[in-house]
């Protein structure tokens, strides 16, 4: 690995790169597959990757191959330089400076194939026994071992070796001809000590799918509160990161928050960070996509916008500060001072949303879609499962209208999130 990365870096420099960066990866993934509650497949993948970036006169070329042999590397180097020479000069293009070179070790003691198989088998059996009305449309359990080496022409050199298990499943309630919406859950795991059934919200979500075999449709529409579960992170948090804080919208100048740094953009009870170094995050990012050491990063603190989600290029291009990591999926939202139970009691009429199927909102912040695997809240109590229920809101409005954040938070190995209650949402049925 070191040899390949350093060889490619030297070759890029000799071929004319003013600046260059190389990342060489090698991984193996072993994966058990279950469909319709039955094992179907054992898959083993041996993967290589080599990513080359060259800057020639401020022009960038990037080449990606999945070969490590000398002939392929030489060809990729030539291609990368040729691409750079064809590119457009852009002074914002750069590579990371040398910081404190490090070797990271995130290994967990190797692969226990029998253990992974037995945990998977145990999960299927538990579902069959505890939830006979659940159909496992698919279950995937994996062990991944990966090594990578990053070097660049400023002298930066990092390497990492990591191992982790992961588990994911898609499921639905099924009783005769009645079928519920599918739901899904899972995440990375540092070990096999915990049964998959006891992972995060897994058991609760299965139980809720069974409860959803009988649903109700809301008549008409109303404006009220929605309580968004930790499983719905795309709906609010990733929308903010992409369409308000992301590199594309800031370079274009279309972000509605482009001038909002250090101003109040949300209810002061909201604090949102990305936390790849948190010990609860499995195989977290150690260097950014552009070669900086990763650190945890505050996006919003006490309602005030503290950072955009910019990498090196976006920061240079916009003149705004670079974020301290590029692991925006490793999100943490700070817990509030309300219990989940009290939050439910505070809602006269609203819905609890466990999954959201919605449109890409765009930079306007208008969000609309279907509340899936969701329940009606009436007079402070969760009542019926819902079907064909649409919600719509503007995200810049509702994050100012947060009426509660739960004390309880759920960690799924990738993020740590609470339940959040938003007011002023249009809920419509038939």
């Amino acid at each position: 690995m070191n040899d390949i990365a350093n060889y490619a870096l030297e070759a890029l420099k000799k071929a004319g790169a003013d600046k260059a960066a190389v990342c060489a990866n090698k991984d193996r993934k072993d994966e058990f597959n279950v469909q319709e509650n039955k094992f179907t497949l054992l898959r083993t993948q041996f993967n290589d990757q080599l990513t080359l970036k060259a800057l020639v006169g401020g022009r960038k070329g990037v080449t990606v191959i999945n070969k490590h042999d000398k002939t392929s590397v030489d060809e990729a180097v030539a291609d990368c330089i040729a691409l750079a020479k064809l590119g457009m000069t852009d002074e914002a293009e750069d590579i990371a400076p040398m910081e404190h070179n490090q070797k990271f070790d995130q290994t967990i003691g190797g692969y226990d194939m029998d253990g992974l198989f037995n945990r998977t088998k145990e999960y299927v059996e538990q579902v069959n026994n505890e939830f006979p009305k659940i159909m496992l449309e698919s279950v995937t359990s994996e062990f991944t071992t990966e090594k990578w080496q990053y070097v660049n022409s400023n002298g930066a050199a990092f390497s990492n070796e990591e191992e982790y298990y992961s588990f994911s499943n898609m499921f639905m309630g099924k009783d005769g001809e009645k079928t519920t919406s599918f739901n899904h859950y899972g995440g990375p795991l540092a070990d096999l000590k915990t049964a998959f059934m006891d992972f995060g919200l897994q058991r609760q979500l299965l139980a809720e799918s069974v409860k959803s075999l009988d649903t109700r449709t809301i008549e008409g529409k109303f404006v009220g509160k929605i309580i968004v579960a930790p499983t719905c992170e795309d709906m609010i948090w990733h929308t903010l990161l992409h369409y308000f804080l992301g590199e594309q919208v800031l370079i274009e100048g279309t972000s509605r928050w482009k001038d909002a740094l250090e101003t109040l953009v949300a209810n002061p009870m909201l604090t949102m960070r990305s936390i790849p170094l948190n010990p609860a995050i499995i195989a977290g990012e150690r260097i950014t996509e552009d070669g900086f050491l990763s650190r945890d990063n505050d996006f919003i603190k006490d309602g005030i916008l503290k950072s955009f989600a910019l990498g090196l290029y976006g920061a240079n291009k916009t003149g705004k500060p670079r974020a301290a990591n590029t692991a925006h999926y490793n999100l943490e939202v700070a817990g509030g001072d309300t219990s989940f139970e009290a939050m439910i009691k505070s809602v006269d009429r609203g819905i609890l949303i466990n999954r959201f199927s919605g449109a890409e909102p765009g930079t306007s912040g208008d969000v609309s879609g279907i509340a899936k695997n969701s329940f009606l809240i009436e007079n402070g109590k969760i009542t019926d499962a819902l079907q064909e229920t649409m919600i719509s809101f503007n995200i810049t409005d509702v994050i100012k209208n947060i009426s509660g954040i739960s004390q309880e938070r759920i960690c799924d190995g990738q993020s740590i999130l609470p339940w959040c209650c938003f007011d002023g949402v249009t809920v419509s049925g038939k």
Partner: protein, 461 residues
């Protein structure tokens, strides 16, 4: 072109085996507000083997493609199949043999590699064209992309094949601001099956559609929120394809049927208006090559059309070889894998609702109070048949006439309920082949259809 290191192993296959060498090559150039933020090439290839024993599969893949690596990957896949068979003990017999063994050679001749320079020059020219012509934009993005897939497939029984499929596409994103500074966007994909310069030679070839995109974006700047609820809607042909794909197509994929999708209990029942016929075309539509033709799937099955709905009656599902055995039907070539290290899954190919006899103008004129929904973004389906897709562009219809544009919203429904409300279908047909379908792996698919008049739930205020 891929060398054949596979065929020599065929005589040694003991169980049902698929051996596949593949390389996917992509080139991408992105100009974001005139800045070249992407100038990338990638080539990802290798070899994979899948072995069936006793009712379960073993699969292995590796990036190296050589006579030695093929042998070791085949051994690894066989060992995985043995492990699964020894642990699971389903005791199922081998897959039924396929009839008509043969070898199908390249459906599209491999052409000389397209240069990155061609993409760069075109993207720059198009960006300049947009800047000069469309004055009220606050931003624009141009993406030029090529994806070439070459496969060599050897199967223990069935049809061996050598396959090459090039896809070239350009995306144009336009952004403008409303009077109170709110950004609004619209996107137009231009996508062809073939070499980049078969179409993308001069931005003026796209001018008519770009003019329309800009006009509609200006309409959308003054857009209003839709009035949420169940409404009479005219779906432009652009949306009928995504309806066919998301709302119906996924629910009739046999793996989802076996898991209990809403289609499981509706075979040979009325699930749509009698006006609706829907087919997953294999490789030919209306006597010409379908947008993304599949001649042999990744299990070695010769591809045929799959009739899904005929005159409103659900007539069949899409299968791989294993599910076809379960349902006692003939497999029709829907087992597809995207990358060399992906296993074949049940996937759509060219899925379409067939055109009717009405004129789009008459559909619009027939609505007193409703919406004309013109462009869609993403869409999602559900096991219940409940679907959602975003509407990036739509208009109010008042007294049979097009009114104000609406802001982004979402439409939803339950497929087999909503399709029963279709009472007019236009006589035109639009195919869409850009983007990817997601289902464990991404996949290139085509979807098509005419304009439909139907009842839909629409989001809004």
């Amino acid at each position: 072109m891929l060398q054949d290191f596979l065929s020599t192993h065929k005589s040694a296959f003991k169980d049902h085996t698929e051996l596949r060498a593949q390389v996917n090559t992509t080139k991408t150039v992105t100009l974001l507000a005139g800045n070249m933020v992407n100038n990338v090439q990638s080539a990802t290839g290798g070899v994979s083997a899948r072995v069936y024993r006793g009712g379960t599969f073993g699969f292995a893949s590796g990036a190296e493609y050589s006579p030695d690596s093929v042998k070791s990957i085949l051994t690894a896949a066989t060992e995985n199949a043995q492990f699964m068979d020894s642990q699971i003990k389903k005791g199922l017999p081998p897959l039924p043999p396929l009839q008509g063994q043969a070898k199908v050679e390249l459906s599209t001749p491999i052409f000389e590699d397209v240069s990155q320079n061609m993409l760069i020059d075109f993207a720059k020219g198009l960006d300049d064209f947009i800047v000069k012509k469309y004055k009220n934009l606050s931003s624009r993005t141009v993406i030029a992309n090529c994806l070439d897939i070459e496969k060599l497939l050897i199967v223990s029984d069935g049809t061996d094949t050598h396959f090459f499929q090039p896809r070239s596409q350009v995306y144009v994103f336009m952004t403008a601001e409303t009077a109170d500074g709110i950004p609004v966007e619209l996107t137009e994909p231009f996508c062809i099956r073939g070499r980049f310069d078969e179409f993308f030679t001069d931005p003026r070839r796209m001018e008519e559609k770009l003019d329309l995109l800009y006009t509609r974006l200006m309409d959308k700047r003054d857009g209003v929120y839709a009035n949420a609820g169940l409404k009479k809607c005219i779906l432009h042909p652009n949306l009928a394809g995504i309806l066919a794909h998301e709302a119906v197509g996924h629910t009739v994929e046999s793996d989802l049927v076996l898991a209990g999708s809403v289609a499981a209990h509706n075979l040979n029942k009325q699930v749509a208006s009698e006006l609706i016929t829907m087919i997953d075309f294999a490789h030919t539509y209306d006597g010409k090559p379908a947008p993304l033709p599949v001649y042999v799937d990744d299990e070695g099955t010769l591809a045929e059309d799959a009739l899904l709905i005929e005159n409103g009656i659900l007539k069949g599902y899409m299968h791989n070889r294993e599910s076809a055995r379960h349902f006692d039907v003939k497999p029709q070539g829907n087992a597809r894998a995207f990358a060399f290290n992906d296993e074949p899954l049940v996937r759509m190919r060219n899925t379409a609702i067939l055109p009717g006899k009405d004129k789009l103008e008459d559909l619009i004129a027939s609505v007193d109070d409703g919406y004309f929904l013109v462009k869609s973004g993403n869409g999602q389906a559900d096991s219940t048949g409940e679907f959602m897709f975003s509407v990036d562009l739509g208009y109010e219809i008042k007294d049979g006439k097009i009114g104000k544009a609406i802001r982004e919203t979402t439409i939803s429904g339950v497929a087999f309920d909503m399709l029963k409300t279709v009472d007019m279908i236009s006589d035109d047909m639009v195919w869409e082949i850009s983007g990817f379908c997601g289902k464990k792996q991404i996949m290139t698919t085509a979807m098509g259809g005419p304009a439909l008049r139907c009842d839909m739930n629409i989001g809004g205020k």
